[in-house]
């Protein structure tokens, strides 16, 4: 290998990324009892001094005085709080590369399920914040965007194993400034793209469904002929763009639509009704409070931010009372992140609905557990602590709606995927390992220098930089999630995603 720094960084990346998960998941015995905890079941009230029995990845029993079966791992959670794993209904973690296929106005032929990156460190970071399930969405550059992928944050597993088995499929739509692309100047040489108005956005969506209807008709006719025994029937040409839209028409695929203003929200719901389908979730839906009755009547869920506003024009009348106001009018509401950072404290974001709009503790907690589960059609599996459900649990040291709550252990399918104690314990070993690797690479570089190699002589290998020089992450993570300056990454995320 010519450049020792390459070897060094590969070693570093490989070791650090791979280190945590297997070690954390190693001690599974299949049966675990969490005892002496305050259990916030979400749907069945609070159990003081309660226990949860986990068997084969599922919650087997919840209540008081559960005896540990033989061979069970017992976790004493005295003074701790246990609640259902946090579900983030709007995420862009674990996506390799750009979250937007923005070159076309309708990109329903692409899906994030094809580009799940299980090594994205944000999976671990969000997991450490208690998130166990995330709705990974395509970006908002197009009126009709790509297909989504619901994942469980099974850090250390491969891309396929992250996918939430059986979660209903969905698709991203987007309204307003992002698909209009008013806040962007296309790079030089790239022409502007239709649409650039809210009228155009509605037109693009309507035309797509007109096309999808025609397409569906041609398949229906073909299937009818085949069923009638017509052997000469020729199948229509498959259209990968329209296929998912036909699934939407048939109610087999959820629409998750990015939206801000009340008027566009109403227009989209009416358009969907015109074609006989329903919007499953309105994402962001920052002016949902203005048309909450209409949203409730349509049957859409609202997945919103806690307190984001004013980062762009369509967010200028966003208010933190939105979640509570929609709830009061009968909408199923979740609080989401749209940001790998925000996801880490979604429990805190949910807590704000108590201050802004007077939600109860239960109502607030529902916003990041059972409500997003309902919205994603996975509430039979996750979202509350009930026998039979997946053992996706978080142990906190304080009430999860307190700012002081720190996730201590996070379970997915009954396995511990995050353990704060172990994370802390591993840091020293990692630091030592990092140091040793840097030393090794440095020596190799010096040896190379002595050998008097001309090419690349003035190009210092990364390993020669000061260790605290924060060598850039290698290879992956090309999407500009966190531009170095300004530090307000959330605002940027709001524009892109």
């Amino acid at each position: 290998m010519k450049n020792p720094s390459v070897l060094g960084t590969i070693l570093l990346a490989g070791l650090f990324a791979g280190l945590l998960a297997p070690a954390l998941a190693a001690q599974d015995s299949g049966v675990t009892l969490i005892e002496n905890a305050t259990i916030l079941t979400v749907t069945k009230g609070t159990i003081e001094n309660g226990s949860i029995l986990i068997r084969n990845g599922k919650i087997a029993q919840v209540g008081k005085n559960i005896k540990a079966p033989e061979g069970a791992t017992v976790i004493d959670a005295k003074g701790m709080y246990v609640t259902a794993g946090i579900i983030d209904c709007h995420s862009h973690i674990a996506v390799e590369g750009n979250v937007n296929e923005g070159s076309v106005a309708v990109s329903s032929m692409v899906g994030v399920g094809d580009v799940i990156n299980p090594d994205d460190i944000d999976i671990y970071r969000d997991l450490a914040g208690g998130v166990t399930t995330a709705n990974v969405l395509h970006g908002s550059a197009n009126p009709i965007g790509g297909l989504n992928q619901v994942i469980k944050l099974r850090w250390g597993k491969d891309a396929e194993e992250l996918k939430f088995e059986g979660a209903p499929p969905g698709i991203k739509f987007a309204l307003g400034e992002n698909p209009k692309r008013n806040n962007f100047n296309p790079p030089p040489g790239i022409p502007r793209r239709y649409p650039e108005s809210r009228m155009g956005v509605m037109d693009v969506i309507r035309q797509a469904f007109v096309d999808a209807r025609e397409y569906k008709k041609s398949w229906d006719e073909y299937n009818k002929r085949v069923a009638a025994g017509d052997k000469a029937a020729i199948p229509p040409r498959r259209d990968l763009k329209l296929e998912p839209l036909v699934e939407v028409l048939e109610g087999k695929r959820y629409v998750h639509s990015h939206c801000y203003r009340a008027d566009e929200i109403l227009q989209l719901m009416r358009l969907a009704e015109e074609f006989g389908f329903r919007i499953r979730t309105l994402q962001h839906v920052l002016e949902g409070y203005r048309v909450a009755d209409e949203i409730a009547a349509h049957g859409a869920g609202g997945s919103t931010f806690s307190d984001w506003w004013a980062y762009k024009m369509e967010a200028y009348e966003a208010i933190p009372y939105n979640a509570a106001m929609m709830t009061r009018r009968g909408v199923i509401v979740s609080v989401n992140s749209d940001s790998a950072e925000e996801a880490r404290h979604l429990n805190q974001e949910a807590a704000k609905t108590m201050k802004y709009g007077g939600m109860t503790e239960d109502e607030a907690l529902r916003m990041v557990t059972i409500n997003p589960a309902i919205q994603l059609g996975i509430d039979k599996r996750v979202g509350s602590i009930e026998p039979g459900k997946d053992a996706d649990l978080v142990i906190y040291n304080h009430h999860p709606l307190s700012v002081y709550a720190v996730a201590q252990k996070v379970f997915i399918d009954g396995h511990i995927y995050f353990d704060r104690e172990k994370d802390l314990a591993m840091r020293e070993a990692q630091a030592a390992e990092r140091k040793a690797l840097l030393e090794k690479a440095k020596k190799a570089a010096e040896a190379e220098k002595k050998a008097g190699e001309k090419p690349g002589a003035d190009r210092k290998p990364d390993s020669e930089k000061k260790p605290d020089g924060a060598a850039p992450p290698q290879g992956k993570d090309e999407k500009p999630k966190e531009p170095p300056k300004p530090p307000q990454q959330v605002a940027v995320a709001g524009f892109l995603d």
Partner: protein, 459 residues
């Protein structure tokens, strides 16, 4: 009301006002900012006495007063304590069941300089050009910004409004961004809001990074280490040259007579920095950038505050040795280095505290300034003491900026910026029930509450 007395006054009013306005202009040019601030606050001193009765008072200057009174006059606290006497003419708030704290102080943001981030017409936080020390944020603060009432309703009573490095929507690339100002979040005009016109010179320290984010194309650019270093060294040299130029100018001003030099607003604005009166607030995140800035300020013999400071723990010994404080950038952020501990920014305030480095928390934002107490709460969750959590957003910024005689705690003589809450102000569910800013009861009403009420009433 006597009309015969009123009419002659009305006639002479415009002339008087005109004269006053002219005088103010002259004053603002000649009188040092601090004296002007005092003159201003004197001129707007409310006649009235206000008092808070029976609150649980956390002064942050001594033990908690379980049940006490606070008396304010002329914008200042005149009495505080369990037995503080409330004058008969005072307008009294019965605060039984409420808790009083110093109002929170956001040590860096762009309140008043930006309304809607994506709408360039509403953004006045950054300029074109490399060196703009002559700019002052106060000259662009919009007193009617909707952000002001929204922010103070979250318990933030004063902020440092600072020029920003730009970024999204253009600008950016500047090095000396201008002067940061301290304002109370209440007042009809910026003159009424102003606490100190100029509190720091903001320097956007040159990036030393092989990867940078290009806002014009919304993509990450990569370059070699050598290239990055060359670019960095060049920028630092240019900054050094500018300082030298300013020093020559300073000497000319101090030694020469006025006729011998042409007035230069940029260089003139640097004199308080060179004299050590005005600190540099150096925005830097990476260890090598912070080290570079410390070395620079050492050579230039100017005072320095680190702004943002993501990697300040990596240069902790240096900061400690030089007694350089840190105004920590938003702690609700992720590290750019995936090898960093997942909780790096949550533990950072506690880590700095343990190391004995002076620090404060700040939002570096506009719409998220109201998350300041959430930042402090998270710092407490990860190791900072609760009292230090409160001080990190009140006393510590005041100390770092040299304003602790006026702000940061509830003590006699200080500006009466007080919040009354129904619980721990770092907790997410706690509400700010009452506010006093500059010694006056100040409304917690704001655009968000109004929309909430309006649309809650929809039949």
């Amino acid at each position: 009301m006597n009309n015969t007395h009123e009419s002659p006054r009305k006639v002479c009013c415009p002339a008087v006002l005109k004269g006053l306005a002219g005088l103010t202009l002259v004053l603002s040019l000649l009188v040092p900012a601090r004296a002007l601030a005092q003159a201003m606050s004197k001129s707007q001193q409310p006649e009235k006495t206000y008092a808070i009765r029976g609150a649980k008072i956390t002064t942050l200057a001594g033990p908690v007063i379980e049940k006490g009174n606070i008396v304010m006059r002329g914008g200042r606290i005149v009495a505080i304590g369990a037995d503080a006497a409330i004058p008969a003419d005072a307008e009294v708030l019965d605060a039984a069941g409420l808790e009083a704290y110093p109002g929170f102080f956001d040590a860096v943001d762009q309140i008043g300089l930006q309304e809607v981030g994506a709408v360039a017409a509403t953004v006045d936080s950054h300029e074109l050009g490399q060196f703009n020390p002559q700019l002052n944020a106060l000259t662009a603060v919009h007193p009617a910004s909707e952000h002001i009432p929204v922010t103070r309703a979250a318990g933030i009573t004063e902020v440092v409004s600072a020029p920003s490095p730009g970024g999204f929507g253009g600008g950016g690339g500047g090095v000396i961004l201008g002067q940061a100002t301290v304002i109370n979040l209440a007042g009809w005009t910026v003159e009424e809001m102003m606490v100190r016109r100029s509190v720091a010179m903001v320097v956007n320290w040159p990036d030393f990074n092989t990867r940078s984010f290009d806002f014009s194309t919304f993509s990450v650019k990569e370059r070699s280490f050598t290239e990055a270093k060359k670019e960095y060294d060049k920028k630092v040299q240019e900054l050094t040259d500018f300082f030298e130029e300013a020093r020559h100018y300073q000497q000319a001003v101090e030694k020469g007579s006025a006729q011998n030099y042409i007035r230069d607003l940029k260089l003139e604005a640097m004199i308080p920095v060179l004299k050590g009166e005005l600190p540099l607030l150096v925005l830097a995140d990476r260890a090598r950038e912070i080290r570079g800035a410390v070395e620079f300020c050492d050579k230039q013999k100017v005072r320095m505050i680190v702004g943002s400071g993501a990697d300040s723990m990596k240069v902790a010994d240096l900061l400690k040795a030089k007694n350089i404080p840190v105004i920590l950038g938003p702690t609700l952020r992720l590290s750019n280095d995936e090898d960093d501990p997942y909780d790096k920014f949550f533990t950072l305030p506690g880590d700095l505290q343990k190391k004995g480095i002076r620090f404060a928390l700040a939002s570096f934002d506009v719409e998220f300034v109201r998350r300041l107490s959430q930042q402090a709460g998270n710092a407490v969750a990860y190791g900072l003491s609760h009292e230090d959590g409160l001080k990190a957003i009140s006393l510590y910024p005041a100390q770092i900026l040299g304003l602790d005689k006026d702000l940061g705690t509830l003590e006699t003589g200080k500006i009466a910026n007080i919040i009354l809450t129904n619980g721990d102000p770092l907790e997410l569910r706690t509400e700010v029930k009452n506010l006093y800013i500059n010694g006056r009861p100040t409304s917690t009403d704001n655009k968000h509450k109004q929309l909430f009420e309006k649309y809650s009433k929809r039949p």
